[in-house]
């Protein structure tokens, strides 16, 4: 393996109307890791992910995908390496689950490169990966929020990317589905960047990046980064770390600052 990072941010800034949404963030994404991006509302998580996906150009700095400046790559080349699951992407079309997952093959197809057996296999594998193969014929409108999110992840999976970006995939889901989505994501064997709200979820990541007002204020192993002092500063809550009674990941107890 070469030393070229799979995805690299170099002093990336996104400025809109005189305000930095993301300010001077640098990052080397390691192949195979699961990186959690955590921070309060409006801290720039979504903007950062959109820049990583090449969907927003940085005002300053550079995003490199496998050593190549993102701005010089064609959209199709980017999409062959990187898939994005955005927040609440919705449709009013009467598409089936399989239709939605098949969209993931778009970067591998063209007017002159038609659908092939390989694409069928990728779609089938993606449906299996999220446990939706029995529901392939279901209508999008009949799916619950958690099922829709699974389909979006299956679509991204069918894209066969090296990097998967997920923007708060557990938002608006009940706790059962939140854990289901996280289990699912951690089982996928791709490099993953996942924007999160919940600090317990962040503990499951290999590394955590903490954002505040567009800046990266900490980056490292979850338990090294998510200290009571940092949580107090960033989220304005008192946090206590409590050992799990059954020896699993520790728990946080939060209390609002007086």
């Amino acid at each position: 393996m070469s030393d070229t990072p799979i995805l690299e941010l170099v002093g990336v800034t996104r400025r809109v109307q005189g305000r930095d949404l993301v300010s001077d963030v640098s990052l080397h994404l390691r192949a195979g890791e699961m990186l959690g991006v955590i921070g309060p509302n409006g801290s720039g998580k979504s903007t950062l992910l959109n820049m990583m996906a090449g969907l927003l150009p940085p005002t300053r700095g550079q995003v490199r995908l496998a050593g190549q400046p993102m701005v010089r790559l064609r959209r199709q080349q980017i999409a062959q390496q990187l898939a994005m699951v955005s927040q609440a992407a919705e449709t009013g079309e009467r598409i089936s689950v399989r239709d939605a997952v098949e969209l993931g093959r778009t970067p591998w197809l063209g007017p002159l490169w038609p659908w092939s057996a390989r694409d069928d296999e990728a779609v089938q594998a993606a449906l299996q990966a999220v446990g939706m193969e029995q529901m392939a014929a279901r209508d999008w409108s009949t799916l619950s929020g958690g099922e829709r999110q699974r389909v979006h992840i299956a679509r991204a999976h069918a894209q066969a990317p090296r990097i998967l970006l997920l923007d708060e995939p557990t938002n608006h889901l009940d706790i059962h589905h939140q854990i289901g989505i996280l289990d699912l994501v951690s089982q996928l064997s791709v490099t993953t960047v996942i924007a999160l709200h919940d600090m317990h979820h962040a503990l499951r990541c290999d590394r955590v990046m903490v954002m505040q007002s567009g800046r990266c204020v900490a980056l490292g192993a979850p338990l090294d980064v998510l200290t009571p002092a940092l949580i107090r500063e960033i989220f304005a809550v008192d946090a206590q770390l409590i050992a799990h009674p059954a020896g699993r990941l520790p728990l946080f107890a939060f209390q609002r600052l007086a």
Binding site: A79, G92, R94, P111, A117, D120
Partner: protein
Amino acid sequence: MRRGAAVRGTGWLWLAPVVLAAALLFGSAVGETPIPLSTVVAVLASKAGLPAGVLDPVDASVIWHYRLSRAVVAACVGASLALSGLILQALLRNALAEPYLLGISAGASTGAVAVAVAGFGAGMVSMSAGAFAGALVAFGLVTILARAAQGTGVQTTGIIILAGIAGSQMFNAMTALIIAQSASAEQARGIMFWLLGNLSGVRWPDIRMALPMTLLGLGVALWHVRTLDAFTFGADSAAALGIDVRRAQAMLIGTTALVTAVMVSIAGAIGFVGLVVPHAMRFLVGVRHARLVPATALAGAVFLVLSDVVSRIVIPGQVLPIGVITALVGAPAFAVVMIRGRQR
């Protein structure tokens, strides 16, 4: 299991030429004086150089110079407008989008009338060029207006339609102004009739414009079927799937404006075809554009040929503007689409 998505469910396509031919024959046979289908076939055979027996020269002339050319142009206009509606609905993620409701047809009318009245070499080509310019200006204005109005509390899907209606009103007023100021009374009468959508003046030379443009529109749409699918979850999602969104939008909307403009300069602003036909086809063949594009083109062609027939026979001795027929079908369809959209 080995059936690919591109071909799945497209087995009916071999029927398309048959259905289209049947519609054209029907359109040629029906009219103020019905002509038997056998005569229509015989006339066509004789034109193709086949032995066809003795023919009534009047019948032959009516069929060849009047009805068949008209039916072919109607088919082209119908296919083009239906495809334009389909493309706009996919790109704008708006079930109500179509060239007429977005003001593109009105802008094209203004452009065409300006050229016709001002008489910059008033051929069909220069009229089409004027219409194209008008269509692009109209779409640009409507888009800017919709952007500016965002966040004013009106639901996003509604904004662009409202902007389109405002645009239509303005361009129709400008058209009326140009006519009132510059056209002779006779010119004005002709233009007003044409504005409502009218195929009466159509002859074979019009086909030389209409047919290549229809094939161009169909070709561009077929080339972009996966692009159109990729917009299912919106433009950002399309970009994440590897679509160059700006390029795709410029290409597809440019083609839509061009094709609509040419059809408007031939047949006037015929409304609702782009709304009714794609929705009916979604119901029949599903939402994937590999099936939807050919189905919409075919159904649009047949729909307008039949609408034209109805416009000629519904009031004996009088030909209604075809836009009246399509609006009578289309306006209720608009209401249905709107109500169904609300329930989601």
